[in-house]
Symmetry: C2
Subunit: 216 residues, 2 copies
């Protein structure tokens, strides 16, 4: 009966000041990331203060620095953890060369929308922050570029017959249109979060294939 599983597993360190929000049981680092995700997406990154994040996570402002070096570090981690699953899926799909490319592209689109719209917050909106062009986020940008490359590879695989002639410009264009659709749609979703995400994701994937010029 020592250290019961449910109540308080007697934690080390000075206790938190009360009159802060009740501890959710999640580890503090994670709690900070959740708080940051909500505030960054709802109120905006630059408009969110370190105090707001910390306090929403149930601790005092200074305590945040025990876990993160600052706001930028929070954002970097959110960005990378959001793009990582999409990127992993893209890598896998690119290699499954025995299946038709159009089908694989459809799957990537669908999963991407699900991942970006499925969570409680609109993390995809963070991709578009001006701050993301800063040096601190180079790794995220590289990941996103690789994801875009995955889209392109799959798109390229959908070309058939007469289209096989080299058409780099056209390919880049279709790539941008598809990529733009995915990210745009995820922003639009914000205005109608009640709609079931699964169907929305499939409809978006259908639309992406139609843009790509592949019959569905």
């Amino acid at each position: 009966m020592t250290g019961g599983t449910d109540d308080g597993p007697r934690r080390v360190g000075r206790p938190r000041a009360d009159q802060l929000r009740p501890a959710s049981g999640r580890p503090p680092r994670e709690e900070l990331l959740y708080a940051a995700a909500e505030l960054f997406t709802v109120k905006g990154y630059a408009a969110t203060t370190t105090r707001a994040v910390a306090e929403r996570a149930g601790m005092r402002q200074a305590t945040m620095y025990h876990y993160f070096g600052g706001k930028e570090e929070l954002l970097a981690e959110l960005l990378e953890s959001t793009v990582a699953p999409s990127l992993e899926l893209a890598r896998r799909l690119v290699q499954e060369t025995d299946r038709p490319a159009g089908r694989r592209l459809w799957e990537l689109c669908r999963s991407d929308v699900l991942l970006l719209c499925g969570g409680p917050y609109n993390l995809g909106a963070l991709y578009l922050l001006p701050e993301v062009s800063g040096a601190r986020f180079a790794r995220f940008r590289r990941m996103r570029q690789e994801l875009r490359g995955g889209y392109r590879e799959l798109l390229d695989g959908t070309r058939v017959g007469a289209e096989l002639a080299d058409d780099r410009a056209g390919l880049v264009l279709r790539n941008d249109l598809v990529f733009g659709l995915i990210e745009g749609v995820m922003l639009i979703h914000r205005s109608d979060p009640a709609r079931p995400v699964a169907a929305f994701a499939e409809a978006t994937a259908d639309a992406a294939l139609r843009i790509a010029g592949v019959g569905v």
Copy 2:
């Protein structure tokens, strides 16, 4: 020869401090809007200070308040002046009932992309700021809603034959997809501003019609 057209038309009021950027000749109000457009889109709205805007416009921070009540007023004016031309076009196109709806939808999409990507800055990115949900921007939001309504009306007009059965959910969905494409594409454009905008706008309009399910 009094008050020559080119040099300095002898303006009233205390002269500006020098060591500020050279006066461009444009009226100060306009200059502030240009400066704000650049800074808001490149560095972000919340991250841009009133000082930065004023100084880029060639005046001291406090002088800005002679023309605008603050940052929010600048943003409101930028937003409304950006959406206004699109809205006007949409109204006109909706009324031209003698022309095929698909054709009119294409035109609206094309113009929208041109308007949003054509200028020197990516003003469309401002549409997506979290701050825009504030009370101050209600008028802009109303305008944008009306624009979306225009898209919907045109989309609705493209339905033919068997599809004429009432399908509200499907219509809203296609509406969101098309709207999402336009805004998403405009964000993607940011990463490759060298590409000629005219062709890009037409390709986007083509893609929108394909999403809508209308043959091009």
